[in-house]
């Protein structure tokens, strides 16, 4: 299947230099996103999932160290000149950032902010772009879109802001939409609305849906990747990974849900500066054997298109 991937990430390493040492936020990540699929990227705080999404569009701080390849339709995004990268952002790949509360500029109306991207990439005139903004707001389920397009972000509720951001990201009909925790911090009813929106919006593009919420990923994703301490530890079809998880971490994650018995994983996630040797999950793993803390496991195929990074399957 390699040839037809829309986005192909190979050996991606992302590091932030800090006074305490190099934070390895993402370590040798391989990932493909295929046309018209929704890939759910599950991970907990500090697992490197947000960094991965930001790295694709090169939105990280300038002093970040990035290695590897990110191929979008055959072109390596990491080696594109900045001017060409600007044509990819928003037009080819759209992103919904975390923290919807602060991701809209408070001094411009929401309509203006959506129209901005349309004017830039599709060359529409001002009034046409505003018309398009209203249509987009309508499409993402904002009531009274004509009036709301003329309102400033502080008049929008949390859920409405999230919708407006999704509209901004979709404005130029990108081929890939990266959504970074669009349901974070929302209460159940609002969250439900956003999840429903994602399952309704037109299906011509691929979605990379980054979340810490296993149930949401299960609702939306066709395939699921699980990240732990900067690595992908399990990847495969959503039903396989969440229905019959292979990696002990994925299993632990599912078992710790209140609905599934609330069995916690002992310990806490390792620091990304001083990672444990061998398997990064081994210090918390119930199935760990002696070898786990010595050898670093690779991804092993455990089913059709279903891989896990665990010694159990060697």
């Amino acid at each position: 299947m390699t040839g037809d991937a829309l986005l192909e990430i190979r050996g991606l390493k992302v590091g932030f230099p800090t006074p305490e040492g190099l934070v390895r936020a993402s370590d040798t990540v391989d990932l493909e996103i295929y046309p018209r699929e929704t890939l759910g990227l599950i991970g907990e705080t500090g697992s490197g999932k947000t960094v991965l999404g930001m790295a694709i569009l090169r939105l990280l701080q300038p002093n970040t160290i990035i290695e590897g390849e990110i191929r979008y339709r055959g072109r390596d995004l990491l080696s594109l000149p900045e001017a060409e990268m600007q044509r990819v952002r928003g037009r080819e790949i759209g992103i919904v950032l975390q923290n919807s509360g602060t991701s809209l500029n408070p001094v411009y109306t929401v309509g203006t902010q959506i129209a901005e991207a349309v004017i830039l990439h599709q060359g529409l005139s001002g009034p046409d772009a505003r018309q398009r903004a209203v249509e987009l707001l309508d499409a993402v389920g904002i009531p009274d879109p004509v009036r709301m397009a003329g309102e400033y972000p502080h008049r929008f509720s949390g859920g409405m802001r999230e919708r407006a951001l999704i509209a901004t990201a979709l404005a130029c009909r990108p081929n890939l939409l990266i959504a970074d925790e669009p349901t974070k911090g929302l209460d159940a009813v609002t969250k439900r609305g956003i999840v429903d929106l994602f399952s309704e919006i037109d299906r011509d593009h691929s979605v990379l849906f980054i979340t810490h919420d296993i149930e949401t990923a299960g609702d939306l994703a066709t395939r699921v990747a699980v990240m732990y301490a900067g690595e992908i530890v399990e990847i495969g079809g959503a039903e396989e990974v969440l229905g019959d998880p292979a990696h002990p971490y994925t299993r632990g994650l599912l078992a710790s849900l209140p609905e599934r018995g609330m069995q916690p994983i002992p310990g806490s996630a390792p620091s990304l500066i001083t990672l444990p040797s061998g398997c990064r999950f081994s210090p918390r793993c119930g199935c760990a054997v002696e070898n786990c803390s010595r050898e670093h496991p690779g991804l092993v195929e455990v089913g059709s298109g279903h891989y896990a990074r665990c010694m159990l399957y060697d």
């Binding site: 609002t190 969250k191 609305g193 209140p258 916690p264 806490s268």
Partner: protein
Amino acid sequence: MIEVTDLETCFSTGFIRRRVVRAVDGVSFRIEEGETLGLVGESGCGKTTLGRSILRLVEPDRGRIVVDGTDVTALSRSELRCFRPRMQMIFQDAYTSLNPRMRVRESVAEPLKIHRMGSRTDIDRRVRELIEEVGLNEEHLNRRPYELSGGQNQRVVLARVLALKPRFLVADEPTSALDVSVQAQILNLIRDLGHDYRMTCLYISHDLGVTRAMSSRVAVMLEGRIVEIGRTADVLDRPSHPYTRRLVDASLTGPCASLERLPLPAAPTTVEVRSGHWVEETV
């Protein structure tokens, strides 16, 4: 154990043109000894204000609160300070619940020092006991909040609160900022310690899964009012109020019927649909 009658808390904004927001609007309920009542509702429905009003961290405007036989609303400021050890609260964000400049040791010892509970060596011994009770060890005593993870900080908060052996605990979404794998640790810890310390608990959450796991009874809050209250299984499996139904639907997977804003009656009446399961009538 806890009896809240007709509680009302308003906020006013603006100095000259006052606008009054009634965050808690005539709430009454009881919590029996050793029981945990779950409180669910959307953000902004007034559940945090309700929790804080019961402890008089926000002054209620009207109503009566009886905790463990004492009318909290009638206490003077100094009486209230002496009574405070009996009722405690933990917050959503453990990191901001601890003074960033204080070491864990100081934070945990602080309640004991405020209430002069024992000599210096007694306090020191008690701090070490507490820190182990919440699953940390002496090494952590010299750390500061930013050197600990979210889960570890929430454990410190628990130790600090338990130092006073409270009879009543308000837990305001203590795990909503945590990852699921850590959330399960903290929830189990709260449940176990609540049992060990024989605490009565008001557990505030917007996550129905967590509420189901933590509480025996549940109250549903909407726009400052409790619209449904009863045993957890009754309320969440057979919701009677349309708003509760909407909450339950939203937390299920699969399609859900989205409801428009509910018209609320001006003078609500409450009916008992099953034994101990009360619902506010809708128009």
